[in-house]
Symmetry: C2
Subunit: 201 residues, 2 copies
């Protein structure tokens, strides 16, 4: 409880952000009030606009400002014939930052989880089905997270894709991350990396 209701409300509201607890929220509130009032008002307006305007691309379900996102509208990406299925929009951003992949994406916004009521419809699989049915996909890349749920979701989608003329179905490699020291890597990853060893090229 401070001397200002607005301040109390602000400290409370800031805590909806992951990783921001009561102490961090208070620190942020005092800092913004003391030194960045105009920037904080701008942030307020940007938050309101973003939550109002950002929608799902009708083609790939990534976050975008229009009906169809810039990646889906790009004819070069369409022509590539590659379609990469990921769990979240953050995954698209991460793959785009690696600056090599030049195909399209499909964003599931989660993974299959019957216990939470997340099934094929919640992941937009009817939409993916429609894209696969066009016959324009030459390679379907499954890039769900390397977890039990992610793998199960990938397996389900692979099954779905087999009904159509999809050139190849691939799965991104899992194994030891580059630059890591082997003795720092968890046993399951190491076990999996040895089991999936490849011939020396």
């Amino acid at each position: 409880m401070s001397a200002s209701t607005h301040l109390d409300r602000l400290i409370q509201a800031l805590q909806i952000q992951p990783g921001v607890g009561p102490r961090a929220a208070a620190r942020i509130a005092y800092y913004l009030l003391g030194r960045r009032r105009e920037d904080a008002q701008a942030l307020g307006q940007i938050l309101i606009d973003a939550m109002d305007k950002i929608q799902l691309c009708s083609c790939c379900r990534n976050y975008c400002d229009d009906e169809v996102c810039a990646l889906c509208s790009d004819p070069k990406r369409r022509e590539s014939g590659q379609l990469c299925v990921v769990e979240s929009p953050a995954d698209v951003a991460a793959i785009e930052q690696s600056q090599n992949y030049k195909g399209r994406y499909f964003v599931l916004h989660g993974h299959l989880s019957p216990i939470d009521g997340i099934g094929a419809n919640e992941l937009g699989l009817p939409l993916l089905d429609g894209i696969l049915a066009t016959g324009n996909v030459t390679e379907l890349i499954l890039a769900t997270n390397p977890t039990i749920e992610g793998d199960a979701t990938a397996a389900y989608i692979a099954q779905l894709a087999k009904r159509y003329e999809v050139g190849t179905i691939t799965k991104i490699a899992s194994g030891v991350p580059l630059g890591g020291a082997l003795d720092n890597i968890d046993q399951k990853t190491l076990l999996n990396a040895i089991a999936n060893r490849r011939p020396w090229e």
Copy 2:
């Protein structure tokens, strides 16, 4: 660069918060978009309102919603005759949480720092001067931070107060924090705690 200008702008704007870098900002943005859109819009409006409405109490310079804050309006606190000078509104909140002090406050919003152009006027000392001149202050408690700048500011204010009929001028104790292990405490604090030892009661 994501597929949404609104999203890029949001990730950028979130970084005005101390402790929130590009990665944390992206994580927050994706989380709010995916699961807390309504709460995030509410946060946006609260930010705008707070930055617009929160002002400085005309009496103690603490953040408040009205002309005079609740603490200054409280007749019991006025009657106590105690006035505690602190550097920031966060200090008031911290002292209030300790639930023992029942006097009034005066918030400097910083400390004397001639090199940054922060002098007596920036700290509201003419206002403090007016309060001391009323003769209603029986004890002036100097609770600036135990730093070189904080101590210098306290010394300046003590000098100011000596011109008026202030009952007593005190300074909050500095020394080893309760519950701490002596071997974890920095040498300066320990040196100071030994130099300022008190007779056993």
